[in-house]
Amino acid sequence: MLRLMRILIALLALGAPALAVQPDEMLQDPALEARARALSRELRCMVCQNQSIDDSDAPLARDLRLLVRDRLRAGDSDQQVIDFLVARYGDFVLLKPPFTWHTMLLWLTPLLVLAAGGAGLLRLARARRAAAHPPAPLTETEQRRISDLTG
């Protein structure tokens, strides 16, 4: 039975992808570990398709998770960890891109579209109201016709 168990465990290790966060990576201090998890969700696994290192099975993601934890254990603040990684890998590592000249359009899209839509609606409403104004007063000929008709 024990042998079978060993074989099965060996089988499991064989070619099985490491799955996201592993128990052996986790820090003893729960507060520090919670910070590490929160940071991991903001960082991209660079070899995956838009996955955070918290979710990813890739070996690189594991390395980054360990790196984040090492920095935290060394006493870095969250911002220092992020700065360290950005210095190493560039903005590509951030799942939330920083606000710069190059990403300004990205960040402002919601506001711009909303403002443009709102302005368009306002203009349309004004134009409609102007078009719907009461008709021009009757001309003299029309007045005369009415008085003729009503006698």
Binding site: L4, M5, R6, L8, I9, A10, L11, L12, A13, L14, G15, A16, P17, A18, L19, A20, V21, Q22, P23, D24, M26, R41, E42, R44, Q49, N50, Q51, S52, D55, G90, D91, F92, V93, L94, L95, K96, P97, H102, T103, L105, L106, W107, T109, P110, V113, L114, G117, G118, L121, A125, R128, A132
Partner: protein, 661 residues
Amino acid sequence: MIAEIGHYALVLALALALFQAVVPLVGARLGDLTLMQTAPATALAQFAFVALSFAALVACYVTSDFSVANVYENSHSLMPLIYKMTSVWGNHEGSMLLWVLILALFGAAVAVFGRNLPDALRADALAVQAWIATAFYLFILLTSNPFLRLADAPFEGRDLNPILQDIGLAVHPPLLYLGYVGFSIAFSFAAAALIEGRLDAAWARWVRPWTLAAWMALTLGIAMGSYWAYYELGWGGWWFWDPVENASLMPWLAGTALLHSAVVMEKREALKVWTVLLAILAFSLSLIGTFLVRSGVLTSVHTFASDPSRGVFILAILVVFIGGSLMLYAWRAPLLKQGGLFAPISREGALVFNNLFLTTACATVFVGTLYPLALEALTGEKISVGAPFFNLTFIPLFVPILMAMPIGPLLSWKRGDLYAAAQRLIAAAALALIGVAATFALMGVKAVLAPFGIGLALFVMAGALTDIVERAALRSVGPAIAARRALGLPRSAWGTAFAHFGLGVTLLGVVCETTWNSERIVAMKPGEATSVAGYELTFDGLLPRTGPNFREVVARFTVRQGGTPVAVLEPSKRTFSARTMTTTEAALLTRGASQLYVSLGDSNPDGSLAARIYYKPLVLLIWLGAVVMVLGGALSLSDRRLRIGAPKRARAVPAAPLPAE
């Protein structure tokens, strides 16, 4: 032989599509009824040939004919029959064939159910359908032919990607494609209306059921895909803001906006120009979604550039159809006359509000998904836009929609009374406040998002019911008469209530899951136990199992609650020999709408096994809400006015514009 029949049938379908793209259109311009009436017949014939072609590919898969390259690449003789069939669309070529099959199906449906349409409109719409079909037949035949043979037939296939060997794949892509392609009907009708230069409330009434059907399929398809990712990928997430997911979310947002603006057009002849634009956009986004997923552009701009034949072809299709339809729109839309006027506070106003925010949300997802690609192509700079960005921008845009949702249906057309509507929502608001207070009591005053989310979900759900209660006049006539009245309400009113209620249910699930989700990541040896959210899990040991085309190692967990065993969970890892790939199969224990979720990690040298155990409270509400929304769609679809169909247009002279209020 079967593969050649399939190939040949597809070529014949192309020939029919070419005919259908030209002859009915010429007929409509000349006013020649005979030419116009070729459209429905060709559409039916086209469907027959595509169906034959598709059936041929299915036959190749079922008989494991590995002399067909596509079957060799994606199938295995030992796979269960159901997966042999679903692997037909588990690959690029086959999924494109499914795409055109559904397109032809919709064309045939218009031919059959569109008998009460004006001849010219039907001829034009079916011709536009045929242009789309022609483009995709050419794409398949020239770049992605699933019927190509191998010179020396191998003995065994290379198997389907194990992640796709799941019942989720059987349902998810067809539903998604029914949604994507269903919007093509709205698109074709929009183009036909622009060509004819005539657009009225009857048009909206014809287009709405098709849009509704497509929307229902897309809603189910997205929900299905989300649930599939949740249990198959093994870390319990259900939405990742992955570009592929975004690709399906964008048409959904545009389609939802279209459904709402079409209501205004149908009832009040307003928002015509906008509705036509949305019809064009919804399908354009579906095309973009197909392009994003199929061209490989997402993985990297460079892979796209290195094998450009497919990508460039789809890009050309995008340019022709999106560019062409928008040009047609810019040219013809100014000719369309605007209809009824309305005050800002009115049912129309509320629907405009809905459209403004839905469109903005859609634009945000669009820009967020494509920005990294554009930036890399233009400057070479690489950035990532992921979940944190979308959560920060998308959620604030959706909150106003949810807050306004219960109010909209309570406002009257043309000019509404916001104060009266607010009064009628007092009960719903009170319920929401109780929810907020209860959540604060549960979590302490520091929590902000969770109480607000719970309150909003309750407000949306209670608000959806308020409309029915009010229309049945429950308070003034008593429950018995009110019940009878409620049943007598038009089904579209019930449809609205269900759909809005369903969104509230989904929101409740999302908030509960993200707030109270508990997680244990532990290394366990046989006999050891751990506990999560009141459940105690004992790891009993590992056992081997053999499946039809895989071997698996199963870990047994006994789940106890208060000492009494309630279930045995068996998460496993499967190794598929043909591709030497391993998948993680999570085990789920469903209690009410909550789930206990166990998936396996690595084994360690000391003989322990890593396990990820989650308790996800009310997580099933996320998908149940989507089902309720679809139920609402079905009720609305069965509404009398859509079942009976619009009366034939008898007016010879255009109706006078409605007088302003």
